[in-house]
C-alpha cells in the first residue's frame, strides 16, 4: 500500500509536468493545426536560460526563473510564431510540421554547443524535506511540483473559461471563421496561444529540472511523453491533455514497478504508455476526454 502510494504520487508529480507540456500541444493544435515536434525542446530550453542568468550574470534564482519564463515567452512564443510558424503555415501543414522537427534539432544541438553537453544541477523551488504519509516517503519538493503544476492548470482553466480573452481564445480554437465574424481578433488570439504555450513550457522546465537536471537531450523523452499524453487524453481538449498527462505519468511508474507481475520485462517499461496510446487510437480515437472533430480533414 505504501509502495503504491509512493508510486502514485511520484507518477502524479511527473504526470503534472507532462500535462503542462501536453496542454501546449493541444493549444497549438486547436488554433493552427500544428503538431509541434519541438515541444520537448521547448521544455528543455528555459532551464538553460535560468542557468545562464544565474551563472553568467550572478542573478538570484527567483529573478533568473522570472527571466527564463520571459525569455521563453519571447523566443519560444513570439519569435517562434513570427519567424517559423507564420511564413510556414502559408506553405501548408506538412512543411510546418517538418520545420518543427528541424527546430527541435536546432534547439537541442544549439543548447549543447552553446552551453554544455554535461548535465547541470538545478535549484529546487521548495526544500527537499521528507514527509511520511501512510508509510510513503514524499518530499515537499515533489508535492510542490504537483501543487504548482495544478495551480497553473487551474489558473489556465479559469482564464480560458472566465475571462473575455480566454473565451475569445476558445472561440478561435473551435471555429476561427465564426470567431472572426463575431468580431474576435483571431490573429491576436492565435498569438496568445503561442505565448501561453511557451509560458507553460517554461514553468514545466523550472519544475522538472531539479529532478531531471538540465541537459540538452532532455527534450527527447519529454516530447514523446507530452505527445502521448495529448493523444491519450484527447488532442482537442485542454482537460484531455491534463488527464492524459497525469495518466501517463502514473502508468509509467506503475509499469516500472509491476510490469513483471503481468509477465512483461521491465525493459519494456517504455512500451506500456505506447500500448495505451495504440489502444486509445483503436477504440477511442478522439482521446479519452476529447470530442469528435467536426472538421473533415
Amino acid at each position: 500500500m505504501a509502495d503504491f502510494l509512493q508510486l502514485l504520487i511520484a507518477g502524479l508529480a511527473t504526470g503534472a509536468i507532462y500535462a503542462l507540456a501536453a496542454i501546449g500541444f493541444t493549444l497549438l493544435w486547436q488554433t493552427s493545426q500544428t503538431i509541434n515536434f519541438a515541444q520537448g525542446e521547448f521544455v528543455m530550453l528555459p532551464a538553460f536560460f535560468a542557468l545562464a542568468a544565474m551563472n553568467g550574470f550572478g542573478l538570484p534564482f527567483w529573478l533568473a526563473a522570472v527571466l527564463a519564463v520571459a525569455a521563453a515567452v519571447v523566443l519560444l512564443g513570439f519569435v517562434f510564431k513570427i519567424v517559423i510558424v507564420d511564413p510556414l503555415i502559408r506553405q501548408g501543414v506538412l512543411p510546418l510540421v517538418i520545420s518543427t522537427i528541424a527546430v527541435a534539432l536546432l534547439l537541442k544541438d544549439g543548447a549543447k554547443e552553446a552551453y554544455s553537453a554535461e548535465a547541470q544541477r538545478f535549484p529546487s523551488i521548495l526544500p527537499d524535506r521528507l514527509q511520511d504519509i501512510f508509510g510513503a516517503k514524499i518530499s515537499l519538493a515533489q508535492l510542490g511540483v504537483l501543487g504548482v503544476a495544478m495551480a497553473t492548470i487551474g489558473a489556465l482553466q479559469w482564464f480560458l473559461a472566465a475571462t473575455h480573452t480566454g473565451r475569445q481564445m476558445q472561440a478561435t480554437a473551435q471555429n476561427p471563421t465564426v470567431a472572426r465574424i463575431l468580431g474576435v481578433r483571431v490573429e491576436r488570439m492565435v498569438m496568445f496561444t503561442f505565448v501561453l504555450n511557451a509560458a507553460l513550457a517554461a514553468i514545466a522546465s523550472l519544475l522538472i529540472s531539479p529532478v531531471y537536471f538540465v541537459k540538452f537531450s532532455n527534450g527527447e523523452t519529454l516530447g514523446v511523453a507530452a505527445f502521448v499524453s495529448a493523444i491519450v487524453g484527447g488532442f482537442n481538449q485542454v482537460r484531455g491533455a491534463i488527464a492524459g498527462g497525469l495518466l501517463v505519468g502514473v502508468i509509467d511508474n506503475l509499469a516500472g514497478a509491476y510490469s513483471t507481475v503481468i509477465g512483461v520485462s521491465s525493459s519494456y517499461r517504455q512500451a506500456v504508455p505506447l500500448a495505451l496510446l495504440v489502444l486509445v487510437i483503436l477504440f477511442r480515437p478522439q482521446g479519452l476526454l476529447g470530442r469528435r472533430e467536426e472538421r473533415a480533414v
Binding site: L88, V103, E113, V228, L282
Partner: protein, 331 residues
C-alpha cells in the same frame, strides 16, 4: 519523342553513376553506396508523404526490420535473394497491419501510430537479445555473392546496390505511372473530387503506406551487408525523423526528390566535416529556410531556377534534375 529523350537521359545517368566509383577510394565508394540505400528508403517515404499526403515516423524502424531480417536469414544460411524478398514482405505486411487502424481515423494519426511503433521496434531489437544480439547487435554480416562472385569488394557491392536501386526506382516509377498511381496524383490535387470519382482514399493510402514501408525494409536488407554490423541505434525514432526531413528537403512529391534529399543527408556531413558537431545545426537551419521559401524542396528550386533562366525554351532538355522534375511536374 520526349519520352525517348527521358529514357536516354536516365540511361546516361545510370552509366555515369556506374562509372563514378572508378578512381574513388574505398570510403567514398561506401558513401555513394550508402546514398543509394538511403535513397531507396526515401523513395518509400516519398510515396507516403509526397503522394499519399501522410506522415510516417517509422521509416528507420522499417529499415531496421529489413536489416535484421536480412542479417538473421543470411546468417542462418539462406540465400540473400530470399532474405531480401523476406525483408520487403515483412515490412509490407507490418505496414498494412499498423496502417489499417491508423488510417481509419483522420490525418496525422498515422504519424502518432508510427511514432509509437518506432519506439516499440527499437525496444524489441534492443531487448530480444537471443534473436537480435541486443545492444551489441549483429556483427560480421556477409555480403552476398552473385553467380559465384563475392560482392565483398566495395566497388562490386556498389554496382550491385546500384542495379537493385535502379530496379526499385523503376518499379516505383511504374507504380506512379499506373492508373493506380495516377489516382494518387488525383488524390493529392483534389481529394474531394477524387473521392467523388470513386477513388477509395483509405485503401489507396493504406497501400501506399505499406509499399512505402516495404521500400524501407528492402533498403534495410541492403544496409545490413553494406555496413556489415548492425545494432539498435540507427533504427530509433531520431533517424526516422531525419528520413522525413530529407525527403522534404529533396522535394516531396517529385520523383527525383528522394535521391536529391538522400544526397544532402548523406553527403552534407561530409561537406561540413570541418564543422564537426555543428552540421546538425546547419542542416536544421537549411531545412527551415527551405520550407519557408521553397517547400517543393531542392528539386522544386531547381525547376524554378531552370524556368527562370530559360523562359522561352521550355521543352529543351538541360540539366538532369530540372529535366526530371519538369517531367514529373506533369500530372
Amino acid at each position: 519523342m520526349k519520352r525517348h529523350a527521358a529514357t536516354a537521359l536516365v540511361l546516361a545517368a545510370l552509366a555515369v553513376l556506374a562509372l563514378v566509383p572508378v578512381g574513388l577510394q574505398r570510403y567514398e565508394t561506401y558513401v555513394l553506396t550508402l546514398w543509394l540505400v538511403t535513397a531507396v528508403a526515401a523513395l518509400g517515404v516519398n510515396l507516403i508523404v509526397g503522394y499519399a499526403g501522410q506522415e510516417t515516423l517509422a521509416q528507420a524502424a522499417f529499415l531496421g526490420i529489413g536489416a535484421y531480417t536480412a542479417a538473421l536469414l543470411t546468417k542462418a544460411g539462406l540465400p540473400f535473394g530470399l532474405a531480401f524478398v523476406a525483408a520487403g514482405a515483412a515490412s509490407f505486411v507490418i505496414g498494412l497491419a499498423i496502417g489499417f487502424p491508423a488510417l481509419r481515423v483522420q490525418k496525422h494519426y498515422l504519424a502518432f501510430v508510427t511514432l509509437a511503433f518506432s519506439i516499440f521496434v527499437w525496444l524489441v531489437i534492443r531487448n530480444e537479445e537471443w534473436l537480435t544480439g541486443g545492444v551489441m547487435g549483429i556483427k560480421d554480416i556477409e555480403r552476398p555473392s552473385v553467380l559465384g562472385l563475392s560482392l565483398r569488394p566495395h566497388r562490386l557491392f556498389y554496382w550491385f546496390v546500384l542495379a537493385v536501386a535502379a530496379a526499385l526506382a523503376f518499379v516505383m516509377w511504374w507504380i506512379l505511372r499506373s492508373p493506380w498511381g495516377r489516382a494518387f496524383t488525383a488524390l493529392r490535387e483534389n481529394p474531394v473530387r477524387a473521392e467523388s470519382l470513386g477513388v477509395d482514399v483509405r485503401r489507396y493510402t493504406l497501400l501506399a503506406f505499406a509499399i512505402g514501408s516495404a521500400y524501407g525494409g528492402l533498403a534495410g536488407a541492403l544496409y545490413a551487408p553494406l555496413v556489415e554490423v548492425i545494432d539498435p541505434a540507427p533504427f530509433a525514432l531520431g533517424p526516422s525523423l531525419l528520413f522525413l526531413l530529407m525527403v522534404v528537403v529533396g522535394g516531396s512529391g517529385s520523383f527525383a526528390g528522394p535521391f536529391v534529399g538522400a544526397a544532402v543527408a548523406v553527403l552534407l556531413p561530409e561537406w561540413l566535416r570541418f564543422a564537426e558537431g555543428y552540421y546538425l545545426l546547419i542542416y536544421a537551419v537549411l531545412v527551415i529556410v527551405m520550407m519557408a521559401f521553397c517547400p517543393s524542396g531542392l528539386v522544386g528550386l531547381a525547376t524554378r531556377l531552370y524556368a527562370a533562366l530559360r523562359p522561352r525554351h521550355r521543352g529543351e532538355v538541360g540539366g538532369k534534375p530540372a529535366a526530371l522534375a519538369t517531367e514529373e511536374a506533369e500530372p
